[in-house]
């Protein structure tokens, strides 16, 4: 179960990377990166998962006493939340950049922005 999720995550990462490294269109690259991020997040949460346990929230189903045996590892969930938000921020920034670049050259082909080299 965990391994399935995890391998899916890795698969997504690789797909995303492939897309972002082969597509010349900047927007496509950005989208591919979001795919990659999704994969990363999948991997993150899959690490914390333990079969047969519930979410780390104390309510009537989970008593304070036996909490240690009932819940799954809360940390990766906290981390993934952070990761998601940061991903959102970076994506937004990249989109804005894409817009700015389009403004300057009227194209979204990454291979056109090579004045700086060597």
């Amino acid at each position: 179960m965990v391994l399935i999720v995890m391998s899916t995550g890795f698969l997504l990462i690789l797909m995303g990377l492939y897309g972002s490294l082969t597509n010349r269109n900047i927007l496509r690259m950005i989208v591919s990166f979001t795919v990659t991020n999704t994969g990363v997040n999948l991997v993150l949460i899959s690490v914390g998962y333990m079969p047969g346990r519930t979410a780390p929230i104390l309510d009537e189903t989970v008593a304070v006493s036996e909490v240690a045996q009932r819940i799954i590892d809360p940390v990766p969930q906290a981390l993934v939340l952070t990761a998601i938000v940061i991903g959102v921020g970076v994506t937004a920034l990249m989109l804005a950049y894409a817009y700015r670049l389009y403004e300057t050259k009227g194209t979204l082909d990454i291979s056109q922005f090579t004045e700086l080299k060597w």
């Binding site: 990462i13 990377l17 972002s20 490294l21 010349r24 900047i26 690259m29 990166f33 990659t36 991020n37 990363v40 991997v43 993150l44 690490v47 940390v75 990766p76 981390l79 952070t82 990761a83 940061i86 921020g89 970076v90 920034l93 990249m94 950049y97 894409a98 700015r100 670049l101 300057t104 990454i110 291979s111 922005f113 090579t114 004045e115 700086l116 080299k117 060597w118």
Partner: protein
């Protein structure tokens, strides 16, 4: 002390506050930003002082009231404190520098800047790995914003490339973090280190991912195209932060993470650093854009620090000293250079020539370059010294060699740049304007001050004396303050300084030091007399000259390898500046410097190899070097010294450097500076004596080199058309003689070498001065354009006449003494073949000497020279002094040599000379200078007297009044036989002087440049390609490290 959390919270709060303000209140927002930066700098400075004074100890600060492993914690120790101080100062000064830009784009920009600095501090402070990731992302995003401060249209594309790469990096980092967490059950770095992550199942991979991600933030070669583009296009003030602060923070992050992986990862880090160091320096060779060049150099320096981090296992408690020295020096210098580049409009390297308009800025420039290259007295120097020693001690010679190689290349392109700035004509129409914004200039000078104070600090921290405490150096630096005063004042001061220093210190000298010391200090004073002939201020001359003399005097006083090497570097730098002053001397000065530094690095390596971990290695214990290392030490040191004596093969720098130098500089660098190499050889040979490598007697090899230098130097001198070049080549020959004498390793050989030291100083200085005077008057150095000057410049003529008689070794002048001792010396030599070369070389001296005097002073006077006067008075004075010395030395060589002869008895007991009465006897022959002089003079005088008596009525005939194949010439040019004077000789022996060495070194240079130019083209500028580079980099390192671990 302010809690580090406040250090992070305050700028953050201020940034949020800025977000709330009105767009209109630009100045208010700027004020807030500036204030925050200032406070942060003060707070961190407070911390640094606290730790430095020892009143504080490293402490962890936990958050959320929970103990560290469970909640994020920050650590503050001396390292962190000084790094955040660095970061905050960089931020503060850049804020000052960015005034207009920030006001233009408004509060948001300032908020981003604040957060960037805050995040960098966070990277340094935090002990939680995920927190580290968060701060890294903050830096990435804020960088993405700050890149836009630049008005360069290409900046956005660079920023976007950075974002792409950073996406990849964060993917790697996150996966690494989560698996590391999984296998250790904690996110705390120390916790992971305690759980020794690197050894756990899957932990090694996780650690690899984390490490490679953080290292990628250091722009390692080849995954660094994006960084270069940012460096090139971003606003210089931001590049300063990016290079100085961001790199330092990331480097510290690497250092912080390494314990998690364990020692086995250190080699990986070292090799990555080494590759970046070499590659970046290589690529920088063919950069024309200043900011990009600086970018390459930053990458190289970061790589170097990475190497140090990778070597921490052997560096022990000196680790921080070394790494810090290199890191801080680089940070200050690079920030300063970027700030400086902001003052200029044009991005071409040569555009920096405008700096010449302001000596202070030029001084700043050279200070920064010295900081980067790691010359004394700057931190990099101490750091490099200790690094090399520790490497040698542990036998990591490959790393040692590569580091020194890279450093040499770096020095090469940096000083080539400096040469261009100082010498090139500021390029006409596209001449760069440079703005003198007071604040910006202030910022630059803040960096300069920082650099020098760092130098002082490191001097205090080093295991040895502080270079900035030695009187000669201070004396030299003092002249920087006197630059405004006229020459005559500074010159008098300089002469007084030299002489009085001699008077103070000579009682302590042994005869060997005494001879060198006299030549250096007193001799220097005499030559400086000639400098009175220059008028005006002569900016930069005296500091350089005095630096050279400081180095020389420290050299002969040095008791241990460190002081010796310091002195060596000082005199190299000083003489480089001196030589660079000549009109056409840019390329020659550069080749001089590169060769000298190369030699210096060999010497450094040699000492390091010899020291074997002894902190203060006394030169005297060169004799105790273990037998397996001894020959190698010998070779390294010998080659290093022979670059200074311009032995054949390493000689190509000398002719240009000596010939193109100013009139009064040539005698200094030729008559005095060359002796430094000889002194080094003397020390070496006294210490190590004869060494054998694979059965080859190394001194025997030196014999051959000396003989070859003597022969080829003289031969090449014969075919020169340029008078000063002729003299320069003859120096090569003369040094060859001296080297030969030393290599003979017997009593008389050394006596002869010392005789050459004195003689060569006297007559070469004299000749350079008089020829220089002639060149000054005639406005040319080409001999065939002169002629017949004897009547116009009689005194110069006398000087040259005496000089050449002395050089050629014809009795009765002092040159003969050298030859006589030489013959007696070789009679006891084991090796006879190289002596044949010397025999051949001897008479050849006549050829160029006669040519010199004939084509200058005899023959036909040219029409355009009919009006010229005798050389300036102050040029003549030292010449006449030299003539007197020459005569005196010819009559009574004993005064100088006798004590030295006795002194030599303790090294070479047999074969001394016998000095009874006026005549000198060896075991083979005898020689009585006085009676020779008397006899010759009597014969000479009587004949001359008679001739004058019978021809008393004779009157001088007109210039063309001579029988000339029944024709009378009308133009002097047609009858002045001077050009290609020794045509038949060239036909016969010209094949001997093929410029093989020149060709060889030229080939090496071309090879470097072309390879650099080809390989750097894989930075295609396409962001996607850069991402692929990064991925490839990761994969390659993965395969390698997994293979090795």
């Amino acid at each position: 002390m302010v809690s580090p959390l406040v250090l992070l919270g305050t700028p953050l709060g201020m940034a949020f506050l800025l977000g709330m303000l009105q767009n209109r209140w630009r100045f208010a927002s700027y004020g807030i930003t500036l204030l925050t930066m200032t406070c942060m700098s003060l707070f961190s400075a407070d911390w640094v002082l606290g730790f430095a004074s020892g009143s504080l100890v490293a402490t962890d600060f936990s958050t959320a009231g929970a103990p560290p492993p469970f909640a994020i914690s920050l650590r503050m120790s001396l390292t962190e404190a000084s790094l955040i101080l660095l970061v905050n100062l960089a931020g503060l000064f850049s804020t000052l520098y960015l005034k207009e830009e920030l006001l233009r784009i408004g509060r948001r920009g300032m908020a981003v800047l604040l957060i960037d600095i805050m995040a960098l501090c966070g990277i340094i402070l935090t002990r939680d790995i995920f927190n580290l990731f968060v701060f890294f992302e903050l830096v990435v995003i804020s960088t993405g914003g700050l890149v836009l401060l630049s008005d360069d249209q290409r900046a956005p594309s660079a920023g976007f490339k950075y974002l792409i790469v950073s996406q990849l990096i964060s993917v790697l980092l996150l996966i690494g973090i989560i698996f590391a967490y999984h296998s250790t059950g904690t996110l705390n770095i120390d916790g992971m280190a305690a759980a020794s992550l690197g050894l756990l199942k899957g932990g090694a991979l996780a650690f690899f991912l984390i490490l490679i991600a953080v290292i990628s933030e250091l722009k390692p070669f080849p995954a660094n195209g994006w960084a270069l583009d940012i460096y090139e296009s971003a606003h210089p003030a931001f590049s300063a932060i990016f290079s100085a602060a961001a790199s330092s923070a990331a480097l510290f992050a690497v250092a912080k993470l390494l314990p998690m992986g364990g020692e086995s990862w250190l080699p990986v880090v070292s090799s990555i650093g080494l590759v970046s160091f070499l590659a970046a320096n290589l690529f920088a060779l063919c950069q024309e854009n200043d900011r990009r060049l600086l970018g390459y150099s930053s990458i190289a320096q970061t790589g170097l620090v990475l190497v140090v981090i990778g070597q921490q296992d052997i560096l022990g408690e000196r680790y921080l000293f070394i790494a810090g020295g290199i890191l801080l020096a680089h940070a200050v210098a690079k920030a300063g250079l970027y700030w400086l580049s902001g003052l200029l409009s044009n991005r071409h390297l040569t555009a920096w020539t405008v700096l010449r308009q302001s000596p202070l800025l030029l001084f700043a420039f050279i200070s920064f370059i010295a900081l980067l290259v790691g010359l004394p007295p700057f931190p990099g120097f101490y750091a490099k010294w200790e690094l090399v020693h520790l490497l040698a001690q542990e036998g990591r010679l490959a790393i040692l060699g590569l580091v020194l190689l890279g450093a040499l290349v770096e020095a090469g392109y940096l000083f080539r740049w400096f040469g261009k700035v100082v010498k090139r004509s500021d390029g006409g129409e596209e001449a760069a304007v440079f703005s003198v914004a007071p604040i910006k200039t202030l910022v630059v000078f803040a960096a300069v001050a920082g650099g020098w104070s760092l130098g002082y600090l490191w001097g205090q921290l080093s295991l040895f004396d502080n270079i900035l405490h030695t009187i000669p150096v201070l004396f030299a630096l003092g002249f920087l303050l006197l630059e405004r005063f006229p020459v005559w004042l500074k010159n008098s001061l300089a002469i007084v300084g030299l002489v009085s220093y001699y008077l103070i210190s000579y009682p302590a000298y042994d005869p060997m030091q005494l001879i060198f010391g006299t030549v250096i200090l007193i001799g220097g004073g005499v030559i400086l007399l000639a400098s009175y002939s220059v008028s005006g201020r002569r900016m930069g001359f005296y500091p350089s000259a005095m630096l050279m003399f400081a180095g020389l005097s420290l050299l002969i006083e040095a008791k241990d390898s460190f002081h010796f090497f310091v002195a060596w570097e000082l005199l190299t730098i000083g003489s480089y500046f001196l030589i660079l002053r000549g009109k056409q001397s840019e390329p020659h000065a550069l080749s001089y410097l590169v060769f000298s530094l190369g030699g210096a690095f060999l010497i450094l390596a040699g000492f390091a190899l010899a020291a074997e971990g002894v902190e203060l290695f006394p030169l005297s214990s060169l004799s105790q070097v273990t037998a397996d290392k001894a020959p190698w030490v010998f070779i390294l040191l010998a080659v290093g010294f022979m670059t200074k004596t311009a032995s054949v093969g390493l000689h190509i720098w000398l002719p240009g450097a000596h010939a193109e130098a100013e009139t009064d500089v040539s005698p200094m660098v030729s008559g005095i500076l060359l002796k430094a190499g000889l002194y080094g050889l003397v020390v070496l040979l006294l210490g190590m004596g004869k060494q054998q490598l694979y059965g080859v007697e190394l001194t025997h090899v030196m014999l051959w080199i000396g003989a070859l230098s003597a022969l080829l130097g003289n031969l090449m001198a014969v075919f020169q058309e340029d008078a000063k070049r002729l003299l320069a080549y003859s120096s090569i020959g003369q040094m060859g003689y001296a080297l030969f004498g030393l290599a003979l390793m017997n009593h008389l050989g050394w006596l002869m070498a010392l005789m050459f030291v004195i003689n060569h100083y006297i007559y070469k200085s004299m000749l350079f001065l008089s020829v220089g005077g002639v060149a000054k008057r005639t406005g040319t150095r080409l001999m065939y354009q002169m002629g017949g000057l004897i009547t116009l410049m009689p005194l110069s003529f006398i000087a040259v006449l005496i000089g050449i008689i002395a050089v050629s070794g014809v009795p009765p002048l002092s040159g003969f003494g050298g030859r006589w001792i030489f013959y007696n010396a070789i009679l006891t030599a084991e090796y006879r073949l190289p002596i044949i070369l010397i025999f051949l070389a001897g008479p050849i001296a006549f050829l160029y000497l006669f040519r010199l005097i004939h084509t200058l002073f005899l023959g036909q006077l040219k029409d355009e020279h009919r009006q010229i006067k005798e050389a300036p008075f102050w040029l003549i004075v030292p010449q006449m002094i030299f003539v007197a010395c020459l005569m005196a030395f010819a009559l009574v060589p004993g005064v100088a040599l006798r004590r030295f002869d006795l002194y030599l008895n303790q090294f070479f007991p047999q074969g001394g000379l016998n000095w009874e009465g006026v005549s000198i006897t060896s075991q083979f022959g005898y020689w009585s200078p006085v009676s020779i002089m008397v006899v010759v003079m009597v014969i000479f005088a009587s004949l001359l007297g008679w001739l004058i008596f019978v021809n008393r009525k004779a009157q001088k005939v007109k210039q063309f009044n001579m029988v000339f194949a029944a024709e009378r010439p009308y133009r002097p040019e047609t009858t002045h036989f001077a050009w290609n004077f020794f045509a038949p000789y060239k036909k016969a022996l010209g094949f001997l002087i093929q410029p093989l060495a020149t060709r060889f070194w030229g080939m090496v240079m071309d090879l470097l440049h072309t390879s650099a130019d080809l390989t750097r083209r894989f930075y295609t500028g396409n962001g996607q390609t850069y991402a692929i580079h990064l991925l490839a980099f990761v994969v390659v390192v993965y395969l390698f490290s997994m293979g090795s671990l």
